[in-house]
């Protein structure tokens, strides 16, 4: 199977690799994993409490090229968006952008889960309401 050019680009030049201080009250951390391949993905974002705009995003992913590309793209997309806008990113958007083949769709699902999980972590820190379905899923 050949990776699309965009996957290769994100894989070779991943954007926003690294981490943000986990204890920072404005930082949300999402940690998700896929049991079938053992991938694990950490996505963090620093959110402005006034404007709810995501000012910084970082990721670190251990996994295949598609998982790395999906999380790299996710950090690019959430930066500058509000929390609500970021929550509307769907895994299918990532699949389309990266031209992921069907066997790699779970990588995009992981990235979507990571965004939601990071935002929920931030919401919890802020004492905001976390959607019930998301709470039990992660």
């Amino acid at each position: 199977m050949a990776y699309s050019e965009k996957v290769v680009d994100h894989f070779n030049n991943p954007r926003n690799v690294g981490s943000l201080p986990k204890e920072d009250p404005n930082v949300g951390t999402g940690l998700v994993g896929a049991p079938e391949c053992g991938d694990v993905m950490k996505l963090q974002m620093k959110i402005n409490p006034e404007t709810q705009v995501i000012e910084e995003a970082r990721f670190k992913t251990f996994g295949c090229g598609s998982a790395i590309a999906s999380s790299s793209l996710a950090t690019e997309w959430v930066k500058g968006k509000t929390v609500e806008e970021a929550l509307s990113i769907k895994n299918t958007d990532i699949v389309k952008e990266l031209a992921l083949p069907p066997v790699k769709i779970h990588c995009s699902v992981l990235a979507e889960d990571a965004i939601k999980s990071a935002i929920n972590d931030w919401k919890k820190k802020k004492g905001l309401e976390v959607p019930a379905a998301e709470k039990s899923a992660h």
Partner: protein, 228 residues
């Protein structure tokens, strides 16, 4: 889905004598090989109930008996249809045997035919409480790879990874024990003809445990590869 506790095949019209037959491999009227039923499962191929405890010597004996009867060598001078059927039955039987003789493959297969492993419907989840540990382990693995490449301090990292491997091996042992006890419960539920709710509950418990197992198994393999 048919009543889960019966292992009778749906009747099939034999291609040769046109009688209705219930035979898995051979027509009960004329004795010819029958067409393989679409979607027939491995347990049915072995004419076994969908239970998880399998006596391996008995399974092997049944396999040898059936392969002997179905073997293409027996059909060299038979019609093309029968030669083709003998190939189909034999190859399915081989796949079935390979799957059923391995306890983990058997369980995974059972969960599959019970509809537990469909993508989307039952999303496969990594055990969340393990993720922190998994992430740290991956970081240590990465450090070890970098240290190997640059000739850094290997001894310290190796000790850390060996400790991690030991901890994950222990967790693997624990998951296996829990899976075994769930499998015993599944068989008991089968014998007691438990209701759909009880079945589903056991299936999803086993599915979760199996996910956990493959996750830990992958990790152990990765660590072992790096420590070699």
């Amino acid at each position: 889905m048919a009543e889960p506790y019966t292992i009778t095949n749906p009747p099939l019209v034999c291609w040769s004598c046109h009688d209705r037959t219930l035979g898995t491999h051979f027509c009960s009227s004329c004795g010819k090989l029958v067409q393989l039923r679409g979607g027939i499962d491995y347990f049915t191929l072995f004419e076994m109930p969908r239970k998880l405890w399998v006596e391996l010597p008995a399974l092997e004996k049944k396999f040898l008996q059936l392969s002997w009867k179905l073997h293409p060598d027996n059909f060299v001078s038979a019609s093309e249809q029968e030669r083709e059927l003998s190939l189909q039955h034999s190859s399915e039987l081989n796949d079935a045997y390979r799957t059923l003789r391995d306890p983990v493959a058997r369980l995974e297969y059972l969960l599959g035919i019970e509809g537990m492993r469909k993508e989307g419907e039952h999303k496969q989840q990594a055990p969340p409480e393990l993720l922190e540990e998994v992430f740290e382990l991956n970081e240590s693995l990465e450090e070890l790879r970098e240290a190997k490449a640059s000739g850094g301090d290997l001894a310290g990292l190796q000790t850390r990874l060996q400790a991690a491997e030991k901890s994950f091996q222990a967790q693997l042992g624990e998951v296996d024990a829990r899976l075994q006890s769930a499998a015993r419960e599944w068989d008991a539920a089968f014998d007691a003809k438990a209701d759909e709710g009880a079945r589903k509950k056991l299936l999803s418990r086993m599915n979760e445990l199996l996910n956990r197992r493959s996750y830990i198994r992958n990790l152990v393999t990765n660590v072992q590869k790096e420590l070699q």
